[in-house]
């Protein structure tokens, strides 16, 4: 990612949001596909309580392992639970957890990176050391240990500690990147001009530096949402993430779901496809955003 080039432009002027989106869709058809898929999943997840045909946790021993049919478009699992409903509610879990963890992690990371870059000196050195320490630990290792440490803390049906565990590995990554881009902007002429003009530190950061970081931040955010969804699925698969009976895509593949692969392959196919589709769409969106926002490519 070439942030320096993206940020060499002066502060961005406000334009109509709708216009921007439509121009984006026309210029980047793949990205538009990604955006649409993401939106469909988000809406499906949000409306899950209204559109899901069954209660996702309702056990129905009479209906175990039923193949896809009109009554159960995606079939049922080994407890007789409707898989379509579980996928819909799972979309809710995945997208909310992905969004919240990635946003919390990126925001925190961005704040740390910005502070580090702006204040420089000893503060910068100290923060960088801590960031390096966290960066040296692999993401899943960090998440695993944090989950074991914090246990579960359910609020409104979502596990806050899991969100934290997934957000924590994101923070140092974002901090590192934001810091280096902020450092390059710091040298830019218009920041110097603002300082000379006597603007306060706060104003310089928020009104001048931050808007130029919006683009790379947004791109990183989509990438991290994708990563967060994947991480949550992996943790649930390992038994350390979302737990029964909450529906989550990774959880639907965990435990002895594998045992039924011959009798009920739909138990394994649909959750895997759902995870892949979600991650794929977010990545597609992020990629297209990046291509679109890179001025050099716009000039071609």
């Amino acid at each position: 990612m070439n942030f320096a080039t993206a940020l060499s432009a002066p502060p961005v002027r406000r334009r109509g949001a709708w216009q921007k989106i439509i121009r984006f869709a026309v210029a980047q058809p793949l990205g538009a596909a990604g955006l649409v898929t993401v939106l469909v999943m988000a809406i499906a997840g949000a409306l899950a309580p209204y559109i899901a045909p069954y209660d996702p946790v309702a056990i129905s021993f009479g209906d175990m392992l039923a193949p896809p049919s009109w009554e159960h478009p995606f079939g049922t699992d080994n407890f007789g639970r409707d898989i379509l409903s579980r996928i819909l509610y799972g979309a809710r879990t995945a997208i909310i957890m992905g969004l919240v963890s990635a946003t919390v992690g990126s925001s925190l990371g961005a704040a740390i990176g910005l502070a580090s870059a702006y204040f420089g000196g000893l503060i910068d050195l100290l923060i960088q050391r801590v960031v390096d320490i966290f960066l040296s630990l692999p993401i899943i290792v960090l998440a695993l240990v944090v989950v074991a440490m914090l246990g579960r803390n359910l609020v409104l049906g979502f596990d806050l500690n899991l969100i934290l565990a997934i957000a924590i590995p994101v923070v140092p990554n974002v901090a590192r990147v934001v810091r280096s881009s902020a450092l390059s902007i710091r040298e830019m002429a218009y920041v110097d001009a603002a300082r000379v003009a006597g603007y306060s530190t706060r104003r310089i950061i928020f009104r001048h530096m931050a808007p130029n970081l919006m683009a790379p931040y947004l791109i990183m955010l989509t990438a991290f949402i994708a990563q967060a969804i994947l991480l949550e699925a992996s943790l649930s698969f390992l038994g350390l993430g979302v737990t029964e009976p909450s529906p989550a895509w990774g959880l639907m593949l965990a435990g002895n779901a594998v045992d039924f692969y011959r009798q009920a392959p739909w138990m394994i196919i649909f959750p895997g496809v759902a995870i892949s589709l979600a991650v794929f769409s977010f990545n597609l969106l992020g990629d297209s955003l990046r291509d679109w926002l890179d001025p050099k490519s716009r000039l071609r």
Binding site: M64, G151, G239, E244, P245, A254, G255, D259
Partner: protein, 528 residues
């Protein structure tokens, strides 16, 4: 003439059939072959005395002998392994064992009574650094003596009707006294015993190999040339069985796994089953409101439809039997008619649930809400908890499940950090003197997490321990069991099935309820 021929033909045909039938039945054991089996975990120690899990014995067991063992062909009778014969004094306080002669250790030395004495001494009075996990089970043993090289004498401080079973624990491996004197912790690092197989190799996390010990004291045994135990995770175990890379597993698999394995292996594998020893319960923390109120606990056990739920449960998990603390087929088990009178075990679920709602209202908590601590992610904990939660929902009780891993679960259980917790037993034997010891009052039991103290239970337990007449003892055990079920500080629900996958070429392996111990591996043979 024709008639005579016909008669002769018929007679010879009959004779052929008879001998053919006899041959098929008494197929002669064949020497040779290596048994490949899977174990759902590697051994965390090589020392039987410090172990309490099948993961250790399934690896280490074939290398050691014990003083007494369970006769798996006539389960649960106790027969001698190293012991040739024994006598019990009339006051049941002295047990005298005569040992087999010419028993050799794998290093060539000969076993004497001193080895047996030293091994039991190690269990009773472990030297510093040695973990004796089963110490409390031998509470009534005062001392062990070796008056001459073929005799071992146990002196008890009090009679115990389960003492023979206790002395037949598969965890009481006999070690070499000479080596113990040099280093009391040697069994943790070296595997050297008098068992039918000699240690060859162990690669941590991967596999364990043993080969036939030619100097084994039972002539002609073992039949197998050796064995290879492979440590695998549960899913990988089923895959390996399906793919033909291992031929057996000795803890047990689930019915769903069975279908998967059969689909791949067809006729080359068979499945044998017995009632298992895994009893799944819910334990209540009686120190915490409202579970200190017996009405609330009764209501919660009444709400669960055991008889109605066992059918579907047995299709998707290893839980196959409705059971109380004694296994349904055990000699001391409650007769069915009596069991069905106990709270929670009745057949009329409607009436039971109505009663449950009434009790909850009376106790002042009609819309009870609580958290169930469950252990995961292994099976069958997940379906068990889901079923309980579903059943409790039917009487208006809202339960949230909190799934924690084994270490977390073990700690919460012991520290009392729970209201209701999924609990399980996995005993290695049946005798009530140690199976029921768990349910003694919290201040005297080693494993009662509920905080429940009732000295009536302790007295009833003592009574059955001192009763040697089997009929009278059964009555006492039944009364004890009935009382515990009625107090509901822990509620038994379902019991597992021990469903073993065995390649058809494996012969002479009687399947018994207990899974901790592999059984007598010296008598297994494989048809070519």
């Amino acid at each position: 003439m024709k008639r005579l021929l016909g008669l002769a033909l018929g007679a010879s045909a009959l004779a052929l059939l008879a001998t053919g039938g006899a041959m098929a039945q008494d197929a002669k054991p064949v020497r040779g072959g290596v048994l490949n089996y899977g174990v759902a975990g590697g051994p965390h120690t090589l020392d039987c005395h410090g172990a309490n899990s099948f993961t250790v014995l399934h690896h280490v067991g074939p290398h050691y002998s014990t003083l007494l063992k369970t006769d798996n062909k006539n389960y649960p009778d106790i027969i001698g392994d190293l012991a040739k014969s024994w006598t019990i004094s009339d006051d049941h306080l002295t047990y005298t064992f005569k040992l087999h002669e010419n028993v050799k250790f794998h290093d060539g030395t000969t076993l004497t009574s001193e080895d047996v004495r030293a091994s039991f001494e190690r269990i009773l009075n472990p030297p510093p650094g040695v973990v004796s996990a089963w110490r409390s089970m031998y509470g009534d043993v005062k001392s062990v003596e070796a008056p001459d090289k073929d005799t071992v004498v146990f002196r008890l401080s009090a009679p115990n009707s389960g003492m023979l079973s206790i002395l037949g624990s598969p965890y009481a491996c006999i070690y070499s006294a000479a080596k113990l004197k040099e280093d009391p912790r040697y069994p943790e690092k070296t595997v050297m015993g008098t068992g039918p197989f000699q240690f060859v190799e162990h690669v941590s996390g991967s596999h364990w190999i043993g080969k036939r010990f030619d100097g084994y004291f039972r002539q002609g045994l073992p039949y197998l040339d050796g064995f290879k135990a492979v440590a695998l995770s549960s899913t990988a175990l089923i895959n390996a069985l399906a793919g033909g890379q291992i031929d057996a597993e000795f803890r047990g698999v689930a019915p769903a796994d069975r279908q998967r394995i059969e689909a791949s292996r067809g006729a080359s594998i068979r499945f044998e089953e017995a009632e298992g020893m895994g009893l799944f319960m819910a334990s209540f923390n009686t120190r915490v409101k409202p579970f200190d109120d017996i009405r609330v606990r009764r209501a919660l056990t009444l709400a669960v439809d055991r008889w109605g739920g066992i059918q579907p449960m047995s299709r998707i998990s290893t839980l196959k039997y409705v059971s109380s603390f004694q296994r349904p087929g055990a000699s001391n088990a409650l007769p069915k008619a009596q069991l069905e009178k106990l709270p929670g075990f009745g057949r009329d679920i409607k009436a039971a649930r109505a009663e449950a709602k009434r009790l909850l209202a009376e106790a002042g908590v009609p819309n009870l809400k609580f958290t169930l601590i469950n252990r995961g992610p292994d099976m069958p904990y997940a379906p068990f908890a889901l079923y309980l939660i579903d059943q409790w929902r039917q009487i208006g009780v809202t339960v949230e499940q909190q799934l924690v891993d084994t270490a977390n679960w073990a700690q919460r259980r012991v520290s009392g950090n729970f209201s209701v917790i999924v609990d399980v037993t996995g005993d290695w034997g049946e005798d009530p003197s140690f199976v029921m010891a768990r349910y003694l009052s919290s201040d005297s039991s080693f494993n009662n997490p509920t905080g429940f103290n009732d000295h009536k239970i302790d007295e009833m337990f003592q009574a059955q321990k001192l009763e040697f007449d089997p009929v009278k003892r059964k009555q006492l055990v039944n009364a004890l069991e009935t009382y515990i079920v009625e107090q509901v500080f822990t509620m038994p629900v379902f019991r597992t099935v021990r469903l073993l996958p065995l390649a058809t070429k494996i012969r002479n392996y009687p399947v018994v309820p207990v899974h901790n111990w592999l059984g007598d591996v010296s008598e297994i043979w494989m048809s070519p």
